[in-house]
Amino acid sequence: MHIVVCIKQVPDSAQIRVHPVTNTIMRQGVPTIINPYDLFALEEALRLRDRFGGAVTVLTMGPPSAEDSLRKALTFGADRAVLLTDRFFAGSDTLATSFALATAITRIGETWGAPDIVFTGKQTIDGDTAQVGPGIAKRLGLIQVTYVAKVAELDPEGRTITLERRAEGGTQVLKSQLPCLIAMLEGTNEVRRGTMADALSAARAEIVKWNAKDAGVEDLGKCGLKGSPTIVKRVFAPAARSEKAKVIEAPEGGSLADALIADVFARQPHLEADLTALARGF
């Protein structure tokens, strides 16, 4: 079984700061991490490999420094890593990103055998669109199953797979075929640690680096800014609320809780009646 996992290196968004004047991201000192959602995809892929044999290839598109994330994925136990990096990819939106990744996956297939499953995370924490997975699936003509909570069954001979997919109000159990693309839901597993042997071989591994040409991109017009139908016209900081919160204090001899409630209902006059009606219903 050959499984490709798409991971993205992202800035740790908890630590992002914005320049107060220019509204640009101040990158200094902002660490990068593997998109946390992608770790669930990676672990699921590793488990399937451990069960059915084969190899896990991790793929990322990003700047040369994204090598760190790939090496880390190898430490977890992935078998090989491909870094897709080229200035032609800069400024890609989700359509252009999915084009580049799909092309690279095709090349990965030609080089190491066609993948049976392509995994992605549910979404990234910087792009946060959940569109790249479906985009790759469409480009490669793969069945797409997103928000997957569990790979329930897999029959490598019969080429079928049964998945539990999170839907509104419940879980869909569906049966589909290989090859397919799975976008894994978060919280479904916990990424493993990797043994000392994994860590040593990751430290030694050669990361495969492809530019657009190596990956087999023929039409550069489909990459980067040129290949992106969306255009970011304006970036701005959310308007700050002009006033800070009004701090309620307990009146002389009175109760703070009552003072708060009085203030809340003074601001929301109808709420009191509605809550009372509700309380009566109990």
């Binding site: 220019t22 000192g29 043994t195 000392m196 860590a199 040593l200």
Partner: protein, 435 residues
């Protein structure tokens, strides 16, 4: 069990570990470096100043791609009381030289860069791996390490302990004692982010110029300690540290001190409007020469903070760390090239070389300083700063008091706070410790 043996295992990827691993790998040894942090530098806290000379001795052309923040053109020393500071500012155009002498750095980024160099030099660097135990043979010789990863122990001819100030591994293996609370300071630090232009305006800087402020006085509330403010490109590192034993005695928390320091009228305007990221606490070895533990043994050497090699008076740590790492590596290389075993006797070369370097010489020079400052902390960190401030105010304030009276008042305030004998004694002691 991994059937692979390395020439050397370096524990820790801080300044000392990187200095050692880089030098060993450059000399062609088969090196494994283990770091518990997510990446080299992820756990490292420092002000931080980089001293070029010591890095040049390891990586001569480091300026080409190292992540340097600002080169220092100005040094300020502040003696503070609650509402004022008396300062000595030294700024010189000479520091705008071709190859500047000192830089501010952000350790997380710098260490990552350094680690990249270590890798390029050919060492295997494995992060997120904590060494849990030193493996010793029946005779007590260190022959390898155990880690928290599955898959057993790894062997090497020599283990370089560069695990930083707490030195747990060495302690656990019985190679050294736990540092005494009087020998370590606890420092807390924050990064205050501000737009580059704001920092340059506030400190009167252009381009990559930078400033360091070191402050002592009532901010440490009578404890032995110091505050510091360093300018980086887009942030200001600010912190304060005091001896652990003093914190124990007074029950004050370092965080409270830092808050007071930040609110000091001389400090607050420098960081106003900043966004605080990264609050960190770290220990600094302050024991000086007298606290240096055993530095080598059968199959092991200890370098950097783990060996208490830190010059508290000059706030130099990372340069001693990388230099001791480099020197240890050179000693190991010499033993190895003579095809001799890594016995304590052979590795004593490390100590010999260290003694010939500035490290031991500097530490010896100030060997009495830690004790002096410690015993006299009330005077040095509380009484004198207040007196000096009073004297200065008395000097500059024009209020019709005849100058002769002013001088008398100043003198009187000094002598009434400390007896003449006390004053002379302190001056004498200070001079002797410094000499």
């Amino acid at each position: 069990m991994i059937d692979e043996k390395f020439d050397a295992i370096v524990v820790g990827a801080g300044m000392a570990g990187n200095g050692a691993a880089y030098t060993l790998a450059k000399r062609g040894l088969k090196v494994l470096q283990l770091e518990r942090g997510e990446y080299s530098g992820s756990k490292n806290v420092q002000g931080a100043i980089l001293y070029s000379d010591m890095l040049e001795k390891i990586i001569p052309d480091f300026r080409e791609d190292a992540p340097l923040e600002r080169h220092l053109v100005e040094q300020r020393f502040w003696m503070m009381d609650d509402r004022s500071h008396v300062g000595l500012h030294y700024r010189s155009e000479d520091f705008n030289e071709e190859a500047p002498n000192r830089y501010t750095i952000i350790r997380a980024q710098f260490d990552k860069w350094f680690s990249g160099k270590v890798r390029e030099a050919g060492a295997l660097v494995v992060c997120e791996t904590t060494v849990t135990e030193l493996v010793q043979d029946a005779y007590g010789k260190v022959i390898g390490v155990k880690t928290d990863r599955g898959g057993g122990q790894i062997h090497a001819d020599v283990v370089v302990l560069a695990e930083g100030v707490s030195g747990l591994l060495g302690t656990r293996a019985g190679l050294r004692k736990i540092p005494k609370p009087t020998d370590v300071a606890l420092a807390v630090k924050e990064m205050h982010f501000l737009p580059q232009e704001t920092i340059e305006d506030r400190f009167l800087l252009k381009g990559d110029e930078g400033v360091v402020i070191e402050a002592a006085g009532t901010i440490s509330e009578g404890m032995t300690g110091m505050g510091f403010i360093y300018t980086n490109k887009e942030c200001i590192s600010l912190g304060i540290g005091c001896l652990v034993s003093d914190f124990q005695k007074t029950g004050r928390s370092p965080y409270q001190l830092l808050e007071t320091f930040k609110q000091h009228p001389s400090v607050a305007p420098l960081i106003a409007g900043s966004e605080v990221k990264e609050y960190a606490a770290h220990l600094i070895p302050e024991g000086g020469y007298k606290a240096i533990p055993q530095l080598f043994g059968d199959g092991w050497v200890v370098v950097g903070d783990a060996a208490q090699l830190n010059n508290a008076i000059h706030r130099e740590g990372s340069n001693l760390a990388m230099t001791s790492g480099r020197i240890a590596a050179e000693a190991i290389f010499q033993v190895k090239s003579r095809k001799e075993p890594m016995t304590a006797q052979n590795l004593s070369l490390y100590k010999t070389l260290l003694e010939q370097s500035f490290i031991i010489k500097d530490l010896k020079k100030y060997k009495d300083m830690p004790q002096l400052l410690h015993i006299q902390s009330q005077n040095f960190f509380l009484t004198y700063p207040q007196l000096v401030s009073k004297a200065m105010q008395n000097f500059v304030r024009v209020d019709g008091t005849p100058k002769i009276e002013k001088e008398k008042m100043t003198l009187k305030s000094f002598t009434s706070a400390r007896s003449w004998a006390g004053l002379f004694g302190d001056a004498f002691r200070l001079a002797r410790a410094w000499r």
